[in-house]
Amino acid sequence: MTLHAPTRRELLLGSGVLFAWSYLPELARAEGRDPRLLVIVLRGALDGLAAVAPVRDPDWPSLRGEKGLGGATPGLPLDSFFALNPAMPNVHRLYQSKAATIVHAVATPYRERSHFDGQDVLESGYGAPGTADTGWLNRALLTVKPEARANGANREAFAVGPIAPLVVRGPAPVLSWTPQRLPATSDDTLMRVLDLYRHSDLALARALEERVGLAKIARASGMDGEQARTPGPVQVRAYFTEAAASAARFLARPDGPRIGALAFDGWDTHADEGPVNGRLATLLGALDGAVAAAESELKEAWRETVVVVITEFGRTARINGTEGTDHGTATVALLAGGALNGGRVIADWPGLKPANLHEGRDLKPTTDLRAVLKGLLKDHLRIDEAALAAKVFPDSGRVKPMRDLLAHA
């Protein structure tokens, strides 16, 4: 089977990383399936409790009060206990048609709170940071017995891009591409720089504020000639959606790749989190748009697809002094796709009483994220369970692959 080598134009239209899928898992093929997997990494620690709120937990209102879901804003009902953030109507629709699953109170084995180390563990698949410079997704590919090898001509199509996230890095060949125009600096990065300057270099702060002020004026008066310097909700949504749509277009092709990975930044909501109509709502809305775009572009292939959205850890159960949340532990993982046995929230709920919180501050993890990922890799891609424990997620022998995630299995 010859690979589709993307044209330069196609490469320039999207963002993210795709595997060159030069072979299909034998066993899946034998079953007559053609599975797709899209991994979306959210960098910055998504506040799982604000994305999927335990509105019926008796201790929930005291933690987030009126600002959280379930107060003035009911959220979109999932089951008798949880509600989905109203910024995600597409995920809600998929949930209701059994094409979305949420896993709550889930975490990797990492228990510190550093973004870099947390992302390292999330993406490397190891139990501790600094252990590997390859990702579990890449190693998963390597364990699959090739049905047909890539021939020499296709080798030109493989290039590891400079911005490949860790989850896909490794010996298995990877196609990666970057959009022609990288997204404008996120508001978050800009604010962090401004904050630093305001505390330590006023001249730089003034210079930066001036330029930002000008950009806001330009945006307000609709001057769109030059791309707005700091992206508003429209731009964030557009970027997430375009990235997911591009990935989906590749995955949909009969001769195209089958595994992909994207990374979205911006989830580190320490201040003014805005879960209902602020920053986090915007981000969740953009993620919702991305899932919908993937569904739309995959078309018939959506039936064979799983999109899995993961993040390095969660956030504190309580709001902090600046209307935000700090780094926490357990969070959510979100699955979407026609191949799922969906319409469920899977959670061994630990409760939210102070005694039940991890270190008195975070949602306690009761499920290992690797169980979810192993379950997907085993049942969707038919990757051997022993290989999952030995090579893909080393030292995870005691973590059993989660069952019944997929519809066909």
């Binding site: 960098r43 910055g44 620690a45 550093s114 973004h115 870099f116 992302q119 410079d133 400079p162 911005i163 490949a164 860790l166 890095r169 970057t178 990288l182 404008a184 600096t185 996120s186 978050d188 990065t189 800009l190 962090r192 720089v193 904050d195 630093l196 300057y197 505390h199 330590s200 270099d201 001249a203 730089l204 210079a207 930066l208 330029r211 930002v212 950009a215 310097r229 930044d265 911006g266 989830w267 580190d268």
Partner: protein, 475 residues
């Protein structure tokens, strides 16, 4: 405040060098001053890493040949079109006679290709030195004696100009650099002296074309004694007369020396000239050389150069005592630039001055590349970054060169943020922001800076923040 023992080493790399690479602070921590001086003493200090680049004259000939070729192509196309039209005007269509005109070369033309090759050599060269002090000096002098690639055929010769006229003399004598610069074809074209004709010269009498004062003025105003000091308009005119005949061997002569400097006596204004109170007899080319040498040893020149050096390296308003020291050294050593440079590094004022100067775009870009450990980055994005930040390589808007004051460069701070984001994505995948922080700015950094970098949301964000910290932006 107890200073980190590596403070001086970090300061040396940011203020006098091209920026730290991983490990470089530690490597010079025991004696930063000594390390700087040692770099000056190297036999290859200031040399280009790429010896195989063509000479300025060879480049000029290549540019000329390219332009001829383009002209021929355009002419052939024009003739083909005319043949076409006359053929179509007849009843039956006839295919055009004559050879099919060759298609013009796709891609960048020869001048641009030369320019990019030279840029590549310079950028890659800047990534190699341990500290990069001689290279900073090259950049300083190249800006002091600037030419612009936007003029005439200078695009094809500006890179060679820097190698031939600047690099060779950066640690030599000022007067030798001055002579090399003012007789270099790139400068003679840039400041119009190549076409300057003495009104009473053989050519002047015949062609009724005349004097161009540009080079003479800029030598006085910018290169040597400095504006509003010791010269008058009359001096400018006299000096311009002295410099007539300093020109470039024309291309049309098709000699092997086309594109090189020549003194053309037929263009030279005859007679003695008085410049700044001294009369110079007319002995052809030697007349101009004599004026230049006198300018080189003028006290006003010493002060001007001392001020510029101090302003570039140390502070927008340099301490008077520092300028005085450098001026004295310049005079004492008859313009020995190595000695003046050593005096700069040995002066306590140079180290005690607060880190207020903003890195110029080119300096900041190279520092970012060095921090990332890049060896041979793509030249395209690097040039683009220079352009976006207002310091396109070898293309200053005026003979004054790019500003050495920090003020004008603050405007580009927001663009630096965008570029930092893009650069952050080009760091190697295993780049650890916390470690890079230690290796580049930690000894200089405030607690706020440390926290900002280590608490970033993701690795790419941390790296972008690192490049934007005040400690990385200033020197």
């Amino acid at each position: 405040m107890a200073r980190d023992p590596k403070y001086e080493a970090a300061l040396a790399l940011h203020r006098f060098g091209l920026g730290p690479r991983p490990g470089s602070i530690g490597a010079i921590a025991s004696d930063p001053r000594g390390a700087l001086l040692a770099e000056l003493d190297r036999a290859d200090a200031g040399h280009s890493v790429e010896p195989a680049l063509a000479t300025s004259a060879a480049n000029a000939r290549a540019v000329f040949a390219f332009r001829q070729e383009q002209r021929a192509v355009r002419q052939a196309q024009r003739m083909a079109r005319e043949t076409d039209m006359s053929a179509n005007s007849q009843a039956e269509a006839k295919p055009p006679q004559g050879a099919t005109p060759p298609r013009p070369n796709p891609g960048p033309g020869v001048p641009q290709r030369i320019y990019l090759d030279e840029a590549r050599a310079r950028i890659h060269g800047a990534l190699q030195p341990d500290i990069g002090f001689p290279e900073r000096l090259v950049w300083f002098w190249s800006n002091h004696f600037c030419v612009s690639a936007d003029k005439g055929n200078v695009r094809g010769t500006c890179g060679a100009y820097e190698r031939e006229a600047i690099r060779a003399h950066v640690l030599g004598r000022f007067r030798d650099m001055l002579l090399a610069v003012e007789s270099h074809p790139a400068m003679l074209v840039y400041l119009d002296n190549a076409r300057s004709i003495g009104p009473d010269s053989v050519a002047g009498v015949r062609q009724k074309r005349g004097l161009n004062e540009n080079l003479a003025r800029e030598i006085l105003e910018l290169h040597t004694v400095g504006v509003r000091t010791v010269y008058t308009q009359t001096d400018v005119t006299s000096f311009a007369n002295v410099l007539t005949g300093w020109t470039v061997v024309p291309m049309r002569q098709e000699s092997a020396r086309a594109g090189e400097f020549e003194f053309n006596p037929r263009m030279h204004q005859p007679g003695a000239q008085t410049v700044i109170g001294k009369s110079y007899p007319d002995n052809g080319r030697a007349q101009g050389q004599a004026v230049l040498f006198d300018l080189a040893r003028h006290p006003a020149t010493a002060k001007h150069i001392a001020t510029k050096l101090a302003r570039h390296f140390v502070a927008d308003e340099p301490p008077g005592s520092l300028v005085e020291k450098l001026t004295k050294r310049f005079m004492q050593t008859d313009g020995n630039l190595k000695e003046v440079t050593k005096a700069l590094v040995s002066a306590p004022e140079a180290w005690e001055a607060p880190r207020n100067k903003l890195k110029r775009p080119g300096e900041w870009i190279i520092a970012a590349l060095r921090a990332s450990g890049a060896a041979t980055p793509d030249i395209g994005p690097v040039m683009q970054a220079h352009n976006l930040l207002g310091e396109p390589l070898w293309r200053p808007p005026a003979p004054k060169g790019y500003s050495d004051d920090s003020g004008p460069w603050f405007d580009g701070i927001a663009q630096r943020l965008d570029i930092a984001n893009q650069f952050a994505r080009r760091f190697p995948p295993d780049a650890d922001p916390r470690q890079l922080f230690e290796e580049t700015v930690a000894p200089l950094a405030s607690n706020e800076t440390r926290q900002a970098v280590t608490r970033a949301e993701s690795r790419p964000q941390a790296l972008a923040l690192l490049l934007m910290t005040p400690e990385f932006q200033r020197r």
